[in-house]
Symmetry: D2
Subunit: 140 residues, 4 copies
C-alpha cells in the first residue's frame, strides 16, 4: 500500500479490523453449513462497523450518498456451522479517487486458515446512482 | 364475509387465489426444513401477486403510499423441505376503512392440511407512515 | 405466572433479558424501514442467546432434538431504520410439559413503547419432528 | 469450450438458459435497489432450475452429495428495483473432473447490458464436505 496517490485524500486502514458474527439458525441451510450468499452480509456488517454506522446514516440522509458494491471476488474453503462465532478480518485501501478495496476474511473458531475470503470493491454513489469521489474517512 | 360495511369502498376476494413458491437452498436451515420467518416472505409474495406488482409500484412512486403489515397470527404444523413446491392460498376481506385481512395458508405437495397458516392484517401508510384509507382494488 | 404446574420441571425466566440488534442495509427494504419478517430473526437470535448457543448445539448434535416455533402473534407499531440499535426484551414461561411461551419486544433507541411485540410459542421436536417434553433449562 | 477433456464425462450447456426472478419487497434495501448479496440467491435459483430440483434432491438424499460454491466473481453495473422481473441468463461448462463453471447474468427489463454478471465455480462434495467428481448431468 505504497502511497501512489500522494495528494489525493486517502481512506485506508493498514491494521486489520476484527468483527464478530454469531451464526444462528437463519444463517444455515439444509446442507448443514452457512448459506454462501450470507458471507456477503457478514462482510458488509464488518465494513459498516469499521466506517461507523452513524457516519453512514449521516452521509445518506444529509449528503445524499452512500457506498455501493461494484465488484466482488470470493473463495469458499470451509463451511461455518450453527453456533460458530466467526471472526471477520478486514483491511481497506483506496485505489484512485473513486474506489475502496476491502480485503476481508471469515475465520472459524480455532481455524488454521480463513473459511471464506473476499476482495470487495466499493464505490460512492448519490441517490441517482451517479459516481462521486470517495470521501475522506478516518478509519484508524 | 357479510357486507357489514355497505357504502364503504370494498376490497375483497372471496375466491381463493393460488400462488406457487419453489423451495431453494436459501429457504431452509440446518434443521432440514424451511426457516420459520421465510413463510412471511412467501405470504407477502402471494399478496403482491394478487394485488399486482405494477399497481403497487405505481401507488408507491406516484401516490406515495404502500401497504404495511400491522398484525400477524401464524401457526406452524409441518415443515417444508428443499425441493417442495408450496401452494400459497389466499383470501382477503376488508375490515372497515383502514384494514385488509389476508387469510393465507402454505400447502406442501400432496398435503392433507396446511403446513403453515396465517392471518395477516395490513394497513395503508404514506411515506411518513401515517395511516390512510385502503384504496379500492379490483382483485377478482 | 402462578405455579399451576407444580411438580413439572420448569423452564422460566421472570426477569426481562435484553439483547441488542444492530440494523444493517440487509435488514431494511425499499420503503425505508426494516422488512417485517426480519423481526422474527431478531427474536430468534435473542432466544438463542438466552438459552445459550452451546447448549442448543449440544442438544441438537448429541441428543437429536431442538426447539421449533409452533405459533406466533405479532404487532407492528413503528418501523426501525438503518443504523438503529434495537433492544430486544424477552421473558419466558413454560406452559405444561410441552410448550414455552416467549414474550418478546423490539424497542427502538429512545422509544416510548415497543416498535414490535411478539408472543412466540415454542415446542421441542426430535429429528423426525416428533414432539418431546421441554427440557429443564436454567435461564436465570 | 473446445473439447479439451475428451473422454471425460461432460456436463455442459452451450445454449443460454433463461430463468425469471420477480423482485419483491424482501429483495430491496433502504437505498431503493436490490441488496447486493441477493443476486447470489437468484443465480443459485437459476442453477437449480437448470439442473433440476428433483435431481438435486435425489442426489442429496440417496447418494449423499451436493453442489457447493467454490469461487465467485461478480460485477455490479445497475441496480434492480421493486417490481422488476429479472431475466437470469446462464451457460455452464465443465472444467476438468471436479469443477463446473457457470456464467450468469441478471438483466433488467429492457436493459441494454446486464445489471449484474457472475462467474460461479461449483464443486461436488459429500456430506463430510469431501470433494468428488462432477456427475454426468444432461442439461440440454
Amino acid at each position: 500500500m505504497a502511497d501512489k496517490h500522494a495528494g489525493t485524500p486517502r481512506t485506508a486502514r493498514a491494521a486489520t479490523a476484527h468483527f464478530q458474527v454469531q451464526i444462528y439458525y437463519e444463517d444455515t441451510d439444509h446442507s448443514g453449513v452457512v448459506y454462501h450468499a450470507n458471507y456477503l452480509k457478514y462482510f458488509e456488517r464488518a465494513r459498516e462497523s469499521l466506517i461507523g454506522t452513524d457516519k453512514l446514516v449521516r452521509m445518506w440522509e444529509e449528503e445524499g450518498f452512500g457506498f455501493s458494491v461494484y465488484r466482488v471476488e470470493m473463495g469458499f474453503f470451509d463451511g461455518a456451522t450453527f453456533g460458530d462465532r466467526l471472526d471477520i478480518r478486514t483491511t481497506v485501501e483506496q485505489e484512485g479517487k473513486y474506489r475502496l478495496l476491502f480485503h476481508q476474511e471469515a475465520w472459524r473458531p480455532g481455524g488454521k486458515k480463513p473459511a471464506v475470503t473476499a476482495l470487495i470493491e466499493m464505490v460512492c454513489v448519490d441517490r441517482h446512482r451517479r459516481l462521486r469521489p470517495i470521501p475522506s474517512l478516518s478509519l484508524d
